[in-house]
Subunit: 394 residues, 2 copies
Amino acid sequence: MQNFVFQNPTKIIFGRDTISQIGQESRKYGASALLVYGQNSVKKNGILQTVCETLRENGVSFVEHSGVKPNPVLSHAEEGIRKAKDNKVEMIIAIGGGSVIDEAKAIAAGSKVDYSVWDFYCRKKTVQQALPVLTVLTLAATGTEMNGRTVLTNEETQEKFVIGADPFYPKISILDPTTTFTVSREQTAYGAIDAASHLMEVYFTHSDDWFTPIQDRYSEGIIRSLIDASYCCLEKADDYNARATIMWGASLAWNGLAPSGVGRWFTPNHLIGMGMSALFDSPHGATISVSFSHWLSWFMKQSPENKARVEQFGREVFLLKESEFLAERTIEALKNWYSKLGSPIAPNELGLDYAKMKLVAKKIESFAHFWMLPHYHSDFVLSLFYEKEFIRNQ
Amino acid sequence: MQNFVFQNPTKIIFGRDTISQIGQESRKYGASALLVYGQNSVKKNGILQTVCETLRENGVSFVEHSGVKPNPVLSHAEEGIRKAKDNKVEMIIAIGGGSVIDEAKAIAAGSKVDYSVWDFYCRKKTVQQALPVLTVLTLAATGTEMNGRTVLTNEETQEKFVIGADPFYPKISILDPTTTFTVSREQTAYGAIDAASHLMEVYFTHSDDWFTPIQDRYSEGIIRSLIDASYCCLEKADDYNARATIMWGASLAWNGLAPSGVGRWFTPNHLIGMGMSALFDSPHGATISVSFSHWLSWFMKQSPENKARVEQFGREVFLLKESEFLAERTIEALKNWYSKLGSPIAPNELGLDYAKMKLVAKKIESFAHFWMLPHYHSDFVLSLFYEKEFIRNQ
């Protein structure tokens, strides 16, 4: 086990009928807020109304900032920062999924400085402070409701970057699984896939010190639960326990516990997915299933240790029996899960042909240095997805 | 899954050569501390010296309060409170295991009030504030280094009570597994057993809503890791990875995550163990192995659901195969672990005969109302351990 520091101060309020607690909780942080949300869904399902009512009852005034996009963009965050500054709000309240919360974090940090918030994302500046961020989660996937990370896309430069900082940990996150009853089958699938992938990036990190049984069981257990629960949700959209499992599982998947003790981490799948999203606005979960389906086959061939790691994943997550082809069967089981959920396996299912993936590969190369990955050069990425074509094009 | 609130702000600094960070970290909380520790072991192994040096280097003055007993007692805590008040210290730094940290928490809260700290433990008063508590852990077991709980024994009334409060969460806990290389085989065993039992109390809590796969896998995974690692430590006392697994496992076992979503919890094993410790100063881990060995057999007979729960534990923790006697084999496997570690199974191994256990049973009854348990009456407790004698004595 490697040395680590772990601290996660976010207060989680989890369960049915908990959203109205946001009013009372927000009072601890001031009397004025910027309410950040996305499209009309939070209006339709009444969540926005519940939040507004409880804020009014608790004497918290607010300004609204709606229209956050999936894969949130810099220009919209900048608009939110202007509103936050103009109205001198004391906190940011996000109502939505990962995109909304990530943009809320950008606004929270951007409101405290007089330069562009993008300077943080491209590592020119370091986040020292931010307005308090409070969240009401309505989509289980990214884990941003319980971590200090935020992802933003710069439309002009077609860059999608992630940064982390202590002030980004939400003060309060309210997780009511019933808010996800109306999430589409597609988004439910992408959410479960994204959550599982956060654990998998850590789990498959190559390390000379793989004696991390606590972390292994932690990740395997959550992934196993996410897989089971995702099938239940597709069967019955309002299965409370299954929705609760995905919601809490997604938070635990990326709250800092899994990597603690594992050492250097991140395999390149999020990087590859971000390249696809930045250029072609592909849904994050879909890019992840495409990437892992190919990368894992490459990974297992690199060393006997890697293969053993894949085999352990198969035994513990899919409960596969020992066999000569356990590693291959594990990857098949994973792809099978992706397919059953309707998530793509091949780039062409996302409309990304060889030419487009070539652009993705180049794009990844341009920002891979942030990730300090050993294998990120364009040819390698391309070969993952188009091995034959790649060889043909040599 | 049940509704819950989860928040755990403790900062964990984990790994080799981390103890000297206590100096720099403590500066954030003031310039004077009460150093709380137990017997001579922290002097012998040089940990105390390392802490004192780094405190001096960082300009933190300190007063020492040594001699904390296993099963820490009120009178000694009161002495610490007097020292803390007289010297107007700004923080309490605990160097030791669960007993030392628990007494440090008592001192931290007692230093803020002008009445007896025991008023908190017997629920006459509620803890509103406490001096910051920082810890350097040297024994993996109770999890107090990462939670808001403290246990104290009142020698006069022979009561051993546990309380929880937000100000009790340590600000910083430094966990260096190498500090446990010199822990005796007996204490290592008791520590692993205690840590596993915290998860088991939650795991076997009866609930009508047992759909908690995330929490189940979490607990099973940590217990499985603790069992494996405990064997490794008995084999090789300075097995770093095994020591690290027990240390981090013990913290995760009782940091609030396992019960989150499980609903009403605590089976009566800690209560029973505390009765034994309060009257006869029995080691906590030893009382736990005695209690669980008997209680679990009773528990599985109460309902098919209970039996299924025990079977699941056997499958997931001990990797036992399906069979007609899976539940019985699970309990045998658990007892086998206890025995191999040298921990007792029967009360007489602790010198507790029928007459003494009768006193224990009466003692438990006198403070069981704090625990709100359905089955705590004296006869029941006694019958767990002396079924035949109990029937004979009817």
